[in-house]
């Protein structure tokens, strides 16, 4: 029960194809934006396409709440011959999250792009953004392992190009995008090699069928090698410590719109796929998968939560600092997953939602300020909170959620993670979370101190309040962080049901 049972978002004729329309809509939008006569049109098409995707994913969420799992055979070719989309509670949670952030990002783009990209190129930018969205939505709804690789790459290729566009403002975006391209492609290729091994062992690419056939193949070297390749490949994409080297610069120098969208969705979709493979295609009860969770994922995630929080605390560049904090937060999410109990996984997924909302708000606030204030370091941002209280107020809310102050979703999800750790007697994890939260207190406190309590440097540029077109999506995201912090029934239900799916509940 998650409140979506009674939601009939679209007429039945449309609903029958909703899982695939969710992906096709943005793709058609991407083609249309490239042909759009001017940037205004391109933006409107982009907003329309993202809203359409959100509408469809709401429809899918209703269907999933009623039936548990929905399967859609592409072109009418049922599996095992054809490719099937298969959306369950986890996939529907991810598609809701991705398309909501997509709508907020597209709204932000109306103003956020004006100072970044030349007028005639904006249509192309929107096209890339919509392709990226389509890839991510496809990734979370497909039931076919190879199809997942293709969608992963569709979204990634869009991402590489759009990060490189940041090079117009700061040339360091270019090497960052190149580095991400190399790392991301290696990750995706590892993933596809792993799928090759699984295909060799099981003779199928349908994830549910692979899972069924793996039950008798646990001792096969081929399967174990495939597991290793898939985990390393997706770890690269998900910025799992120590494979996160590409992330800080990519997020720090990307155009603000991409920083907003990527920080909230890209690594999350890779984490989704990792969880999908470790928990449903393989199974934690398989010896090597269980050992991976206990002896690889959990320690690495704990190290990430501490080391990267410290790196965030020592970096002078505000956006890089937030990017390092993203790696630390990925660590939290993976910690939750690696506990591998219903409570742990649910906490991890709740953290995933919380982090997507707050990081999108934080990067959007910085993007709103960056339209007029070309600042990077903390000193250059000094006093911005007084000059632009509305924009930076939302930043402060996002920061509070990042730190884990009460009445924010960040606090609640961290609390759930602590509960899950205590339940499993993992007291060293409690210490890790406490240490990492202290570091978060330092880096967030440092940012807020500079923004709100310091005088701007004499002669420095002053921040100007972001336009209304930015304030609205910004406060929507920040407001959700607070709303869910007070009444978390919606995200908690989504996360709990997704956790049941991952632990082999109704398939």
């Amino acid at each position: 029960m998650n409140g979506f049972e009674t939601l009939y978002a679209a007429p039945p004729a449309l609903m029958a194809h909703a899982p695939v329309l969710m992906v096709v809509g943005p793709v058609i939008g991407a083609c249309a934006t490239v042909l759009a006569p001017n940037s205004r049109w391109a933006w409107m098409i982009s907003v329309f396409a993202t809203i359409f995707a959100l509408w469809m994913s709401l429809g899918v969420a209703g269907e999933v709440a009623r039936h548990g799992v929905i399967t859609y055979a592409i072109g009418g070719f049922a599996p095992p011959v054809g490719i099937a989309f298969r959306v369950d509670a986890l996939g529907s949670m991810m598609s809701l999250l991705i398309s909501s952030v997509g709508v907020a990002s597209a709204l932000f783009a109306g103003h956020g792009l004006r100072h970044e990209i030349r007028e005639e190129k904006q249509g192309l930018f929107h096209g890339g953004f919509l392709l990226c969205l389509a890839g991510l939505l496809g990734l979370v709804s497909t039931g076919d392992a190879f199809n997942a690789f293709v969608f992963l790459e569709v979204s990634s290729i869009g991402t590489y190009a759009l990060i490189a566009i940041g090079g117009g403002r700061d040339r360091r975006a270019l090497p960052a995008a190149f580095n991400y391209l190399i790392m991301g492609t290696i990750g995706a290729t590892f993933f596809v090699i792993g799928i090759g091994f699984l295909y060799a062992a099981t003779g199928t690419l349908n994830m549910a069928d692979i899972a069924a056939r793996l039950a008798t193949l646990q001792d096969s070297r081929t399967v174990q090698a495939g597991f290793a390749f898939i985990v390393v490949g997706l770890g690269l994409k998900a910025a799992m410590f120590p494979l996160h080297g590409w992330l800080p610069n990519a997020y720090a120098y990307a155009p603000p719109l991409m920083a907003v969208f990527l920080s909230a969705t890209a690594t999350k979709a890779a984490i989704y796929l990792l969880a999908r493979f470790v928990f449903t295609v393989f199974d934690p009860s398989i010896v090597f998968a269980g050992h991976f969770l206990d002896y690889v994922l959990m320690p690495l995630a704990a190290i990430a939560a501490i080391i990267c929080s410290l790196q965030a605390a020592f970096d002078q560049d505000l956006r890089r600092s937030l990017a390092f904090s993203s790696v630390a937060q990925v660590g939290y999410i993976l910690l939750g997953l690696s506990i591998a109990t219903a409570a742990g996984i649910s906490a991890g997924l709740l953290l995933l939602i919380a982090h997507a909302l707050m990081k999108a708000a934080l990067f959007m606030a910085l993007g709103g300020i960056a339209m007029t204030l070309r600042a990077r370091t903390l000193n250059e941002f000094a006093g911005a909170g007084r000059d632009a209280p509305w924009t930076m107020g939302a930043f402060a809310i996002g920061a509070a959620s990042l730190m884990g102050l009460p009445f924010t979703l960040g606090f609640l999800s961290k609390w759930r993670l602590l509960e899950a750790a205590v339940e499993q007697q993992l007291f060293w994890l409690v210490a890790v979370i406490a240490a990492s939260s202290l570091a978060a207190l330092v880096y967030v406190g440092r940012m807020l101190e500079a923004l709100f309590f310091r005088q701007p440097m004499p002669g420095a540029a002053r921040a100007i309040e972001a336009p209304l077109g930015v304030i609205v999506p910004l406060w929507f995201l920040a407001g959700l962080s607070v709303w869910f912090g007070i009444d978390a029934s919606l995200p908690e239900n989504l996360a709990n049901q997704a956790a049941i799916v991952l632990l082999g509940g109704p398939r």
Partner: protein
């Protein structure tokens, strides 16, 4: 040794894969790194094609069992295998990996194109495609020292 010789295609896959990865990581020149990446991606193509190969099998296009090609193929395999895996007396290779690799090649080409385009932009912005030069030009100069000159 015979094991290696019997799996010569897999040996080739491993060699290509390692070569590609090594060039991707060790290369200082961005173009060379892209070449390494392309080799690495291509090796997976060979891997998948090897998976789909059936001993004595032909391309997955239906041929008549009475045709001379089919008889020539059938002569190469022992009758037990033929009866077990053959369709109408002809053994076919698995076509699915071929299709997968067609898709993967397209993905690889797109990645290569984006990567090279970014390399061109890097050349425009930094005047070099050597990773060491790029890093040197972005290094913040110590106080009192002149910044690295722009090309």
């Amino acid at each position: 040794m015979t094991f290696l010789l019997q799996h010569l295609n897999y040996v080739a896959v491993i060699i290509l894969m390692m070569l590609g990865l090594f060039v991707t990581f060790a290369g200082g020149n961005l173009i060379k790194r892209m070449i390494g990446l392309a080799i690495f991606q291509t090796s997976t193509g060979l891997f998948f094609i090897s998976l789909g190969k059936v001993q004595g099998g032909t391309a997955a296009i239906t041929i008549s069992p009475t045709s001379p090609e089919a008889k020539a193929l059938a002569a190469q395999i022992d009758p037990a295998t033929l009866a077990q895996t053959g369709v109408n007396g002809v053994v076919y290779s698995n076509p699915l990996p071929h299709v997968l690799i067609l898709t993967a090649i397209v993905v690889g080409v797109a990645t290569l194109a984006v990567g090279l385009a970014i390399a061109v932009r890097i050349r425009e912005a930094y005047g070099s495609v050597e990773a060491a030069d790029i890093a040197a030009r972005d290094r913040v100069p110590l106080p009192g020292q002149p910044a690295e000159p722009l090309v």
